[in-house]
Amino acid sequence: MRSLTLVTAASLWLLPLLAWSGEKPAKPTDKAEPSGSCGTSIDFFDSPQDAAKQALKDQKLVFVVHVSGNFEDPRFT
């Protein structure tokens, strides 16, 4: 009974090591990605700030659309 308990305890302690695959965890990337196109053919970032940050990195300009209503909802655009 005691040996069974020891084996169980040892295997529980080793479990995280066995589960480790040897790969380093992925670093969080600082590159913002467009979040959607809202039914258009343009890739939109979440906010003009995100678009500006990415534009600075990619040496691009910024395109901002100001709309009335909810752009995400075609009924209210």
């Binding site: 343009i42 979440d46 300009l61 910024v62 659309v65």
Partner: protein
Amino acid sequence: MNALANEEVGKYLNEYYCSSFQKVATFKIVGGQKQGGNVAAYFCAPDGRVLHCVAGPVGGDVLLREAKWVVDSVKKTLADTKGDGAKFKAAWRTLHAQRLRDQYGLAVEAVTVDVTEQDPNSALTYKDPSGRPIAPKLPPPPIDGPDVTLQAKDLAKRQNEAANAPGAMPIGDRKGNRWVLGNDGRVHMLLAAHSLVKIEKVYGTVFENILNEKISTKPVEVLTPFPWVEKQRAARNLDGIDRSKK
């Protein structure tokens, strides 16, 4: 919306621009009909300073033409001014004044030096309930008059084009003469004095003075002017008995 769905426009904008959108106004839906609402597209430097603007809904060809004009002009002006920020701003405003002259035959003098900004923390600055200064209404530079190098026939032709442009409105010059300019003409006039300023300073003028639309954070209002009609219809459809008549 249609212009933004154009594949050629999308391909070009995705290649040269990082895009985003913001809600700045609202509209009403009354009895299924849309009332009010508008759109403005800004082409900006990565720091948020406005290079150009397309006010109001336009076709894909116009949006693409303006997007290309901005990219090509930025490249050329950067090369001409050799990276000098002040010279770039002056040259860019002069480009807008030149486009107004070429397209509509009206002359404005580009404002190449900015006046001192108002202190946003001053007690005299008018602020909205959230504490931010209200988007200012920027004055456009006055029209000096017609381009004197144009023949009367050419000027008349350009003014006819302006009269047929979306949002065409009469506008006076320094001498009291009346001319006409559409949305795009008035955008060039505004940006001949106020391009390369932050978008939050320009958008109020574009939306309220050029598009005549009120800036608002309210959600879209859906109004049904005669709600009892819908109720009567629903009552009739429920079991075939007209309950509205008693």
